[in-house]
C-alpha cells in the first residue's frame, strides 16, 4: 500500500516539475535565437543604453542592419550577398556531387555481392570519426601545392569526401528496406541490374534521397574549419560562416549588423530543418531504433 502512496506522491511532484522542465528547456533552446533576431532589429546605441530589453521599443525597429550587411563593400556594406552566393555554390555543389557518387555507392553496398563490400562501409564510417584537424593539415598542404587552395571547387571536393561516407550509410539503410523481390521481378522481365536500379529502386528511394540532400546541404552550409583554412585570404571567396566569424573579430562592424548576418546565416537552415525534420530525425537515429 505504501508503494502506491509513494507512487502517487511521486506522480504529483512530477506533474508539477515536468511542465517547468519543458518550459526551461524550451527557453534554453530558443532564447539565443530569439535574442539574435531581437538584436538584429535594434539600433546599436539602444542596445548599449538598455542591454536588458527583451523586446524592441515602439518605433525602434530598424531594418537598416540588414541593408548594411547585404550591400556590397564597394557601397559601404559588408557584402554578405556575395558570401551567400559563395555558400550557396559550395553547398549546392557538394549536394549534387555527393548524391552522384553516393547513390550508386549506397546501392552497391546494399544490394550487390562483391568482394570487400562489408569492409568498405566500415572504412567509410571510420572516416567520420577521424579528427578533422588531422585531415586539415595534409589537405591544406596538398591544395596549397597544386594551387587550388582558395577555390570554391577545391572546397567542394573536400566536403564531398567528408560526407560521402555518411551519405552512403544513410541511403544504404533505406535501400535495405526496399524489398529485393521487386527488382527480381524486373529481372525476370528482362531488366539488367542497372535498369532495375534506375527504374525500380531509385524512384522508391526518392524520399530518402531528398532528406539526404538536405542533410548534406546543411553540413556544407554550416561548415567552418575547412572554409577558414581554404578561403580566408580572399574576402571575395568567403562563405557566410567564414565572413561572419572574420567580421565578428573586428571592432568596426557593429554587433547589431552582424546579428543581422547571423540571422541570414541561420534562417535557411532552420527553414530546411522544419521542412525535413521528420526524415532527418529518423535518419539520424536509424541505428538506435533497431536496438
Amino acid at each position: 500500500m505504501s508503494g502506491v502512496r509513494r507512487d502517487n506522491a511521486e506522480r504529483r511532484v512530477l506533474a508539477v516539475a515536468r511542465p517547468i522542465i519543458i518550459v526551461l528547456l524550451l527557453v534554453i533552446c530558443l532564447f539565443p535565437f530569439y535574442y539574435m533576431v531581437l538584436l538584429s532589429f535594434r539600433p546599436l546605441d539602444a542596445v548599449l543604453q538598455d542591454p536588458g530589453a527583451l523586446w524592441p521599443q515602439l518605433g525602434e525597429i530598424d531594418w537598416g542592419t540588414y541593408r548594411d550587411v547585404l550591400t556590397s563593400t564597394a557601397s559601404g556594406g559588408q557584402g554578405f550577398l556575395s558570401f551567400i552566393r559563395n555558400s550557396a555554390i559550395v553547398a549546392v555543389g557538394t549536394v549534387v556531387l555527393t548524391l552522384v557518387v553516393s547513390i550508386p555507392g549506397a546501392y552497391a553496398v546494399s544490394r550487390l555481392e562483391f568482394f570487400g563490400r562489408r569492409q568498405i562501409s566500415a572504412v567509410f564510417l571510420g572516416v567520420y570519426f577521424f579528427p578533422a584537424i588531422l585531415l586539415a593539415i595534409p589537405l591544406f598542404v596538398f591544395f596549397t601545392r597544386i594551387g587550388q587552395r582558395g577555390t570554391l571547387s577545391g572546397l567542394v571536393v573536400v566536403y564531398v569526401a567528408q560526407v560521402a561516407a555518411v551519405s552512403i550509410y544513410m541511403l544504404r539503410n533505406y535501400f535495405d528496406t526496399i524489398p529485393a523481390s521487386l527488382e527480381e521481378a524486373a529481372a525476370i522481365d528482362g531488366c539488367t541490374r542497372l535498369q532495375a536500379m534506375r527504374h525500380i529502386s531509385l524512384p522508391l528511394a526518392l524520399p530518402a534521397i531528398a532528406s539526404n540532400a538536405l542533410f548534406v546541404f546543411m553540413i556544407a552550409w554550416n561548415e567552418f574549419l575547412f572554409a577558414l583554412l581554404f578561403l580566408v585570404e580572399d574576402r571575395s571567396k568567403w562563405t557566410v560562416s567564414l565572413g561572419l566569424s572574420q567580421l565578428a573579430g573586428s571592432i568596426e562592424v557593429p554587433t547589431t549588423v552582424l546579428m543581422a548576418g547571423s540571422v541570414i546565416l541561420t534562417v535557411p537552415i532552420i527553414v530546411l530543418f522544419f521542412l525535413s525534420e521528420r526524415w532527418l530525425a529518423g535518419g539520424l537515429t536509424a541505428g538506435a531504433e533497431k536496438g
Binding site: P104, L134, L284
Partner: protein, 341 residues
C-alpha cells in the same frame, strides 16, 4: 583508428537478406545465376568506385601523408620544396611532447570532452524523460529541442559571445541588476579558476563556459537517440511493474534505465570522439585563450600562426593516437554490453 564494427550505428543495423537467386526453372537458373553473380560483382565495383576514389584520394592518402609530414621539418615557407622523401626524424615529436603547454592542452581536452559529453547526455536524458508522455504540441517542442544542434556553429557561438559580453551582454546585465553580482563576469576571457564553496576545481571560468556551450549544442543529439530507444521499450513492462507496486523512480531505475544502458554506452563513445576532436566551438568562442586551449586548437595555431606544419602534424597524430587508445580501452571495458545494440 578503427571505430567501427559493433559499436557504430552501422554495425547495429539489420542487413536485408541478399537478393535470393531465382529458383523457379532450375536448369536455366543455374546459368543465369552465375552470370548474374558476375554481373553483380562488376556492377558493384563500378558503382562504388567513384566514392572509393574520392575517399581514397581525399581522406586515406592525406592521412598517410600526415605521417610523412610529421617526421619531416616542413614549414609553410619551405613547403614548395618538400617532397615525400626527405630527412625523416623524430624531432617534431620530441619538440611537441616537451613543449610547454602541450600537457596542459591535453588535460584541457580531456576535461572538456568528459564534462561536455556528460553535460550533453545528462541534459538529453532529462529532455527525453520530460517529453516522454504525449501532450498537445509535443511534436513542435521536440523539433525546437533540435535547433541548437542544427544551427550553424558560427551563428550560435556569435550569439553566445554577445549574450555573455561583459559590457552589454544580457546575462551580465541581469546578473548585476537582478542577481546582485558585484562585477560583470568575463565568461569567455577569464582564466580565473572556478571555486564554488571555496573548493578550487582547477577549471577556468572560460573552460566551464565552453563545456556548458558544448552541452547546450550537443544535447539534442543525445535526446534524439534516447527518445528513439525509449519508444522501443514495451509499455507492458512498466505496467506490470506498476501492478507489482513499483514507484515511478523505481520503474525508471529498474526498468527504463537498464533498457537504455547500451544506447547510453554508444552515445558516450560517439559524443566523446566528436568532442575530443572539436575545433570550431572553442576556436570561435575563446580562440583557445584563458585556459581553453584544447589540442585541436593548438594544432591549428602551429599550422597557421607558426607555420610549422611538421609540428602540427605530429601533434594531430598524438591527438588521434590518444583518442584511439581511450576509445579502445573503453570498448575493452564496456564492449560486452554494446553487443546487444
Amino acid at each position: 583508428m578503427s571505430v567501427s564494427g559493433s559499436t557504430t550505428p552501422a554495425g547495429s543495423t539489420v542487413r536485408a537478406p541478399d537478393p535470393a537467386p531465382p529458383e523457379r526453372r532450375p536448369r536455366r537458373a543455374h546459368r543465369s545465376r552465375s552470370a548474374r553473380v558476375r554481373e553483380d560483382r562488376r556492377a558493384g565495383y563500378m558503382l562504388i568506385s567513384p566514392t572509393a576514389v574520392i575517399v581514397f584520394v581525399m581522406v586515406v592518402l592525406p592521412i598517410l601523408w600526415t605521417f610523412s609530414l610529421a617526421f619531416q621539418d616542413v614549414r609553410l615557407l619551405n613547403l614548395r620544396t618538400t617532397g615525400v622523401i626527405g630527412a625523416y626524424s623524430l624531432d617534431n615529436f620530441k619538440a611537441v611532447l616537451t613543449s610547454p603547454g602541450f600537457l596542459d592542452a591535453l588535460v584541457t581536452t580531456l576535461v572538456y570532452s568528459v564534462c561536455g559529453t556528460a553535460c550533453a547526455i545528462g541534459l538529453g536524458m532529462i529532455a527525453a524523460l520530460a517529453l516522454r508522455a504525449p501532450f498537445r504540441g509535443r511534436g513542435v517542442v521536440r523539433a525546437c529541442m533540435l535547433i541548437p544542434y542544427v544551427a550553424p556553429v558560427v551563428a550560435a557561438t556569435f550569439v553566445w559571445k554577445t549574450m555573455l559580453n561583459p559590457q552589454f551582454g544580457i546575462l551580465n546585465h541581469y546578473g548585476t541588476t537582478l542577481l546582485g553580482w558585484k562585477d560583470p563576469i568575463a565568461f569567455l576571457s577569464s582564466a580565473q579558476s572556478v571555486s564554488p564553496f571555496g573548493i578550487d576545481l582547477h577549471v577556468s571560468t572560460s573552460l566551464l563556459t565552453v563545456v556548458l556551450f558544448e552541452g547546450w549544442r550537443s544535447f539534442p543529439f543525445a535526446f534524439l537517440f534516447i527518445t528513439a530507444r525509449m519508444q522501443a521499450i514495451p509499455d507492458s513492462l512498466e505496467e506490470a511493474a506498476t501492478v507489482d507496486g513499483a514507484t515511478l523512480t523505481e520503474r525508471f531505475r529498474y526498468i527504463v534505465l537498464p533498457q537504455l544502458l547500451p544506447t547510453l554506452a554508444v552515445l558516450t563513445v560517439l559524443r566523446f570522439i566528436w568532442t575530443f576532436n572539436n575545433f570550431d566551438d572553442i576556436y570561435l568562442l575563446t580562440g583557445g585563450g584563458s585556459g581553453t586551449q584544447v589540442v585541436a586548437v593548438r594544432v591549428y595555431d602551429y599550422l597557421i600562426n607558426r607555420g610549422d606544419i611538421g609540428a602540427a602534424a605530429a601533434q594531430a597524430l598524438v591527438l588521434a593516437a590518444i583518442l584511439a587508445i581511450l576509445v579502445t580501452a573503453y570498448l575493452k571495458l564496456f564492449g560486452r554490453s554494446e553487443e546487444v545494440v
